[in-house]
């Protein structure tokens, strides 16, 4: 019993999980010519995109759509690194036994019908555990949607491309407890060209857990930011392992977590005040803080923050230059920045008088610097070049409402040019014109994150400050 519980914890089985993400060959067990079936979609995706060998396995066919089909994994006359299993749950133990015999390195068990449905499913899971006990094979799932790797085209998400877009290569990795949420995120990200280059959903995690996936992504040089969607941990004592792993990983790269299921009251007996006060979510929040995880309040916010952390340098302090062509937007930015503990310091008189020389008389030069509705691209350039490189500010929140006539897409070049000052910048751009779309795309493809509203841009800057704090491990002090 004890070993069964440990099985779900990371790293205990020792052997690498690299084959789950970078196999040189993949077998699809349960490949089928029947359109709309899970095995069909996975087969089509892999045959069409995967940069490596693909083998089809199904005892009922000799070939599918002209591709040879094997009776079982053991019949494949070549090495198989990864097997993707999409067969009914009762058949899975036999397939796993074949995989062990064949020496397959890793399995993704897509099939549902295990512990999530009841005792019979639980028995099947235990059977799979005992089959792999003395082998080195690693298992993702069961009851999962698997892996998406934009780099090598490994894609076990069984949703057709016309239903679920695939995001481009990029520096963001996603670990999701929910398969459906992962699929929806990838679809959403693909429409926004957001680079979630790696995504994984781990289902019932009878072997590989979120802790081990975190560790693995921490070592992957293509991943700059890790995002996690979780609802709750599962195995007794597993929280400590997660805490220890996350503590190490967050010193290497930022991890953003969104935990759903925040309101469920804890089931602790209420003999003490403490137990009455301790909600399940509060415990997670405490653990996240200790581990140096950055917490987001929604899926959208998670990627708002990820975008900034993936592209921007870390700030050396908390002081923000707010540069805007709208007073109202500037005020909104200041509201959120101060609530989050960031500062918008008034610029010194010397800086103010210099700005006054170059900006129109109605411009406000204290900070926020408001270049007003009569702004031109040049005004932005003047402010960025004269204030950003000084020791008065650590980062910039640039609000550019493209509705005003004086701004052109050339503003993008001035903003990109200011990257050389080595300070974080985010841009707030709100509206719906084609011009604005072009402006936003140009900024994002040059590594400047764009947000629709000031509060979202401000929160992104907060995440950079927060990660700065986590990395530098500043001592906590009383104010």
């Amino acid at each position: 019993m004890a070993t069964e519980l440990l099985r779900g914890e990371s790293g205990l089985r020792g052997s690498s999980i690299d084959a789950l993400f970078h196999p040189s060959s993949v077998a699809v067990v349960g490949a089928t010519p029947k359109q709309g079936h899970v095995g069909y979609v996975i087969m089509v995706n892999l045959l069409g995109k995967f940069k490596g060998k693909v083998f089809l396995v199904n005892p009922r066919y000799d070939s599918i759509n002209g591709v040879k089909c094997y009776k079982s994994l053991t019949d494949v006359d070549d090495e198989v690194d990864l097997a993707v299993i999409a067969v009914p749950a009762p058949v899975v133990p036999q397939v796993v036994a074949d995989a062990v015999k064949k020496g397959v390195k890793a399995l993704i068990i897509i099939s549902g019908g295990f512990s999530e449905v009841g005792d019979e499913g639980k028995r099947l899971e235990d059977e799979v555990r005992s089959i792999i006990k003395d082998s080195k094979v690693r298992i993702l799932g069961p009851n999962c949607i698997g892996v998406y790797n934009a780099e090598n085209g490994l894609d076990t998400f069984f949703l057709p491309e016309d239903r679920m877009g695939r995001p481009p290569k990029g520096p963001i990795a996603l670990i999701s407890q929910s398969g459906a949420v992962a699929a929806a995120i990838l679809d959403w990200a693909s429409r926004r060209k957001l680079g979630i280059g790696l995504a994984v959903n781990y289902g019932n995690k009878i072997d590989v857990s979120e802790s081990e996936l975190l560790e693995y992504f921490a070592e992957n040089p293509n991943v700059k930011v890790i995002t996690m969607y979780i609802e709750g941990l599962k195995y007794p004592g597993e929280g400590l392992r997660f805490l220890e792993t996350a503590r190490k990983v967050t010193q290497v790269k930022p991890v953003i977590v969104y935990k759903a299921g925040r309101t469920k009251a804890s089931a602790h007996a209420v003999a003490s005040h403490t137990a009455a006060l301790a909600g399940n979510y509060e415990i997670y929040r405490g653990a996240f803080r200790q581990a140096g995880l950055i917490e987001a309040n929604s899926v959208r916010e998670m990627f708002d923050l990820a975008k900034a952390l993936a592209t921007q340098p870390l700030p050396r302090g908390k002081r923000v230059l707010v540069l805007t062509d709208s007073g109202g937007m500037g005020i909104q930015a200041v509201d959120t920045l101060s609530t989050l503990g960031l500062e918008v310091p008034e610029l010194p008189e010397t800086m103010q008088s210099m700005l006054r020389k170059y900006l129109p008389p109605l411009a406000i030069v204290r900070n926020p610097v408001d270049v007003t509705g009569s702004a031109t691209d040049e005004y932005y350039k003047i402010v960025l070049d004269s204030i950003l490189p000084t020791s008065y500010v650590d980062m910039a929140l640039i609000i550019a409402l493209m509705q005003i006539p004086g701004l052109t897409p050339n503003l993008v070049n001035y903003i990109i040019d200011a990257k050389r000052y080595g300070k974080p910048m985010v841009v707030v751009s709100f509206g719906g014109s084609a011009l604005m779309e072009k402006f936003n795309d140009a900024l994002e493809s040059n590594g400047i994150p764009v947000y629709a509203t000031p509060d979202r841009g401000a929160k992104a800057l907060w995440a950079l400050v927060e990660y700065s704090r986590i990395r530098r491990m500043l001592r906590e002090e009383v104010e």
């Binding site: 003490s272 405490g286 104010e479």
Partner: protein
């Protein structure tokens, strides 16, 4: 390493530590408590009150009473020898009337710390994360406001301070509206030592230090009441 006090209480079949046992356990971990004596009659109580210093609280000691105040087992702000005598008689008759089943082992006479800010430090066991330490604002509205923060034990000094800063109670400690600054680092010390106590004694299933009274900066924090629930491991 479980403390002898806990081992002994378990061997006696107790499901919680008695008040003076709780204070002894806190003292063993260097956690400050106000001076107290255990007595069995009012003559001893008067002597004890003069030793620990007025004002004092008189509390019934019984393994069978969960909430002492519910059965009239506590008298606060007792400030003279006559009042001590009356308080002992009052507690004794209240308990006889409202909790006739309870075994009474005596009275606790405890010096009362005056004029501080009340906060709660607590501990519990979570099946996923293990030992959890809680910090929150004290007083009757605690559960309404849920102004609490938690960390997984063992906690560091930084963890403790960031727990405190996460709550609104922190604003009260650093001088909200002219209120005196509280001794925050002494509270950090209590929290770190308490986390160690919880780690060393897995047989404690839940614990409340409620209230912990924070005095002005430089004067320390005292655990005024403590509850340790036990479960054999």
């Amino acid at each position: 390493m479980t403390h002898d006090l806990v081992v002994k209480a378990l061997s006696e079949g107790k499901f919680k530590l008695l008040d003076h046992e709780a204070y002894q356990l806190l003292e063993a971990y260097g956690i400050p408590t106000p001076g107290y004596r255990v007595v069995s009659n009012y003559e001893e109580a008067i002597k004890a009150a003069n030793e620990v210093g007025y004002p004092v609280a008189i509390k019934v000691i019984s393994p069978d009473i969960m909430h002492k105040t519910d059965v009239g087992g506590v008298v606060l702000n007792v400030s003279s020898d006559d009042e001590v005598k009356r308080a002992c008689q009052e507690v004794s008759s209240n308990v006889k009337r409202l909790a006739p089943y309870a075994r009474v082992f005596g009275y606790l006479v405890q010096h009362m710390v005056q004029g501080g800010l009340e906060v709660i430090v607590g501990g519990l066991r979570d099946s996923i994360f293990g030992t959890v330490v809680l910090f929150g604002m004290g007083g009757v509205l605690t559960e309404l406001y849920r102004d609490v923060s938690m960390r997984i034990a063992p906690i560091t000094e930084d963890d403790a301070l960031s727990m405190i800063k996460e709550t609104k109670a922190y604003q009260l400690m650093i001088g909200y509206r002219g209120m005196p600054r509280r001794d925050i680092y002494s509270l950090v010390d209590v929290m770190v030592k308490f986390s160690r106590l919880m780690m060393d004694n897995p047989q404690i299933s839940e614990a409340d230090l409620n209230p912990v009274i924070m005095l002005e900066n430089g004067k320390g924090s005292y655990v005024v009441d403590a509850r340790f629930m036990l479960k054999p491991k």
